[in-house]
């Protein structure tokens, strides 16, 4: 119980303003308000330069926060052929990301393991070390299924975590109830930042009841789910190579890579050497790549190891539920539902998985 303290909205404002003064701050914002059906914009990540920019949303953002740790395009090396010089480039600034939901925090944890695996990735790890993560609570929409993949709650992987509360009822005539947050910290860095920029008070029992009630409501609000225990999914996927599901979804897939690009755990990239027009200087850059794109598994000579969209989708789904679980001991899908939400042809990751589960169970009964 002691792990929670209360941060009034006023103090939260001080925290955010303090952070924008000393860090590069990214956080959840609302985008394109004019074009959204409800008129209040779409949830997305963006640069936070003042407190008003920040909108802590309850539902997931379109793109994940991975771009702040693993940018769409980054320079790894600069070279000069004429001078015969080269220098590695590691770009990392002190930054804060505010508004990650539990699924996103789990995703960052998986990325940390990926980029530390084998030969550690200097660029990612340098950036990660300088990144403060501030999480916040959420409410599932019809695509969220973190409850089914054990990523609904987090105890680590963030520096500060914010639970929304209505706050203490003020004495009569003193205005509306003051909103605020119950905060948890999981790192010393989080504790230091919190005490440096804001004054947190002791949380009241009423507030604790309030977030317990919110969490209960959240748990009961899931409409999407996976119909098998998370631990069984690698086995089910490994027996589903011949499933007719792949042909069916392959036929409607664009191969547009949107699922890869919005996914918080898709980390594949391409490395290219780009020459400047003077033909002396150049850069080695790394850019996002996606396994559902046609040229992803194409090699010299023109052979493509996964020529059809069906092959490529099967590969992507297996990367999430089967292939990587052996290496990292965890599912690589955190249930954020972003791929299903973004897919124009409505390929839904939880529905596809449930179809495979049904086939697997039917085969077992035979």
């Amino acid at each position: 119980m002691e792990k929670f303290s209360f941060l009034s909205n006023k103090e939260f404002r001080k925290l955010v303003e303090g952070l924008t003064g000393s860090f590069t701050v990214y956080g959840t914002v609302r985008k394109d308000a004019r074009l959204s059906a409800a008129g209040d914009g779409f949830p997305a990540y963006g640069r936070i330069s003042c407190f008003e920019d920040l909108v802590l949303g309850l539902t997931p953002t379109h793109l994940s926060a991975k771009e702040f740790l693993f940018p769409q395009r980054e320079t790894l090396l600069k070279f000069d052929i004429e001078k015969m010089t080269h220098a590695a480039v590691v770009e990392a600034v002190d930054q804060v990301i505010i508004g990650l939901h539990p699924c996103d925090i789990h995703a960052v944890g998986l990325m940390d393991r990926v980029f530390a695996y084998g030969k550690p990735d200097v660029n990612y790890l340098a950036r990660r070390a300088k990144t403060v993560i501030i999480g916040t609570d959420c409410m599932p929409d019809r695509f969220c299924f973190c409850k089914s993949v054990d990523t609904m709650n987090v105890d680590a992987g963030f520096d500060i975590f914010l639970h929304r509360v209505k706050g203490v009822e003020p004495p009569q005539g003193a205005g509306p109830p003051q909103n605020g947050f119950l905060v948890r910290t999981a790192t010393d860095r989080g504790k230091t930042i919190l005490s440096k920029y804001a004054k947190a008070k002791k949380a009241s029992l009423k507030q604790l009841d309030e977030i317990a009630a919110f969490e209960k409501k959240r748990e009961d609000s899931f409409t999407a789910h996976i119909d098998a225990p998370a631990g069984q999914l690698p086995e089910i996927y490994s027996k589903s190579d011949e499933s007719p599901v792949w042909e069916r979804i392959g036929a409607i897939c664009y191969g547009c890579g949107s699922c890869n690009n919005v996914c918080p755990t898709c980390y594949c990239f391409d490395v290219k050497d780009e020459m400047k027009s003077n033909l002396n200087e150049g850069e080695r850059v790394r850019v996002w790549d996606g396994c559902t794109l046609e040229d992803f598994a194409k090699v010299t000579g023109g052979h493509n190891f996964r020529r059809t969209r069906s092959d490529r989708l099967r590969h992507r789904f297996n990367r999430k539920f089967n292939y990587l679980t052996g290496r990292f001991g965890a599912l690589f899908c955190v249930g954020c539902g972003r791929c299903s939400r973004t897919c124009l042809v409505q390929i839904n990751i939880s529905e596809v998985t449930n179809e495979l589960i049904r086939e697997y169970n039917a085969k077992k009964r035979q």
Binding site: L35, S258, E274, S277, G290
Partner: protein, 272 residues
Amino acid sequence: MPENAEKIRPKAAFFSFTCCEGCQLAVLSCEDELPDILRALNIVYFREAMTEKRVEPSQREDYDIAFVEGSVTTQKEITKLKHIRKKAKTVIALGACSSTGGLNCLKNRFPMDFVKKTVYGKYAEKYKKTFETLPVRPIDSIIKVDCYLHGCPISKTEFLSAFTALLMGKTPITQNYPVCVDCKMAGNICVFEKGMTCLGPVTRAGCDAVCVTYGCICWGCRGLVDDPNVSAHKETLKRYGLTAESMLRSFDLYGNCSLRKSGSLGVRPAKK
């Protein structure tokens, strides 16, 4: 640059067929890089950029790289294009008109007599030979093209990367994935979620999705990717309320999409 640079500098020529010449302007707008380009290339013909009113390279004159802009709409252009192919070691299609036919293909929706009459009125009949016109075609329906720079207009970045690749003897890379990739990387909210429709999911990327980034939609100016899922896109457009006719119109705007070519030099189009 070595001493004998002048001798090894490849000769390049820019030719323009039926188009707005905007892709040549896009080349000229690479202002920071133009000195480098001039150091590396010996440009023997570039009407849009040259002060002197020189005539096109003669029969005897050779050039290594021909940048060809514009689509083909007359018999004269066919003859000239074939001549260019004979002379040049490498032919590069510069922009939508030359690589896919471009906006000019709108003409192909009508009979040629009707088109001529609409534009030239009574003179269409009087000066038959002057106003001779053929259905619009991309240049690769007449000659072999080694490399395509797509877009209306071309992307400066792509032009410069093709330029360095050619000088280094590498194959210029043309993206073979849909605009959705560029659009997601730009952090855009999907056009379909904003209550509009778009050709991005089947259109070749490489444009950084500028149109969507600045509030517009993708009209497909770069042509289709090698292996587009057109039937899926028709279903999507239908789901978002587009009629069959308006669908065909949007697919058709930047040239007949069925005439799409492979993304880059040496890579064959996707197998059926």
